[in-house]
């Protein structure tokens, strides 16, 4: 009976994730606002679970320097560090500390992982079907322009979702959010370089 309930909950949460995913493409502002009020913890659990499957899949394509589970645990640490950083910073900036909840940050930042997952997944698949290095032929140049445009589109979408995640979770204004993002980059860029140096992440999964 309990298993049946769990299965129904998981399926309904999965459908909700799909619905929100489409919403984040078509109507990011309204959808992220709804996500920030969400209370169903199955949803971030499913997203983080899908990311685990991705790391398991991509392990066979990477140099296999580290086990997939270790890379995944490191991703969890990075993700929690990011969420906690913005949560505590919002606590410092906010006048009404009661309206700031960790849950809201956790949900919105989980959903803002979707563009990252899509970029990493498509890059991995392209690695299989159109293996680098790129040549200087017309096809190579064409693909390079397409891939740059694709990566830029995903990056802009990711920035919009991250901005909205901070906006609806912290309830701060535009300038404060930009200030918070700059403060985040001050420690996150050297941290990413460190991860690159140890060959843990080439592009940080965040």
């Amino acid at each position: 009976m309990d298993f049946k309930k769990l299965l129904v909950n998981l399926l309904s949460s999965f459908l909700l994730i799909f619905n929100r995913f489409v919403g984040l493409i078509l109507n990011p502002y309204k959808t992220m606002r709804k996500i920030s009020l969400e209370k169903d913890f199955y949803q971030p659990a499913i997203i983080i679970g899908i990311i685990f499957l991705y790391f398991k899949f991509v392990y066979y394509l990477r140099d296999k320097v580290y086990p997939a589970t270790l890379i995944y645990l490191l991703f969890i640490v990075n993700f929690l560090l990011t969420v906690l950083f913005f949560y505590f910073l919002s606590g410092i900036f906010s006048k009404n500390k009661k309206e700031i909840t960790f849950r809201s940050f956790f949900f919105t930042f989980s959903y803002s992982l979707l563009p990252t997952l899509i970029w990493f997944l498509t890059t991995s698949l392209l690695y299989i079907f159109i293996t680098p290095p790129r040549s200087f032929s017309i096809l190579g140049k064409g693909f390079s322009i397409f891939f740059t445009a694709y990566s830029l589109s995903i990056l802009i979408w990711k920035l919009i979702l991250t901005y909205l995640a901070i906006r609806f979770s912290s309830k701060q204004n535009f300038f404060r959010i930009i200030y918070m993002m700059i403060l985040y980059l001050i420690w996150f860029v050297p941290y990413s370089i460190l991860l690159y140096h140890f060959r843990l992440f080439r592009v940080p999964f965040i």
Binding site: P28, Y29, P132, F147, S153, W157, I160, K171, R202
Partner: protein, 77 residues
């Protein structure tokens, strides 16, 4: 009727639970609202042409370096 009132109240609470952005100067706030209005609904209509334009621009500025950069990015997963 009362159920509709409750739903209406919930919707209003959802819409107004963050204060509108105020950038200090009137023209800045207005410009911000006009620009962000395009990004709130189907932002890809604007994102895709901008990205294509930027990537063509980068190709003409950086040339072969962009192709090398794409090779590095393809190893980036």
């Amino acid at each position: 009727m009362s159920r509709m009132n409750v739903r209406m109240k919930q919707k209003l609470n959802e819409v107004f639970f963050v204060e509108p952005n105020d950038l200090g100067a009137g023209f800045l706030t207005n410009s911000f609202r006009k620009i962000t209005a395009y990004l709130k609904v189907v932002p890809f209509i604007f994102i895709i042409p901008i990205s294509l334009f930027v990537s063509f621009f980068l190709y003409f500025v950086l040339g072969r370096f962009l192709i090398k950069l794409v090779t590095v990015l393809q190893y980036g997963f």
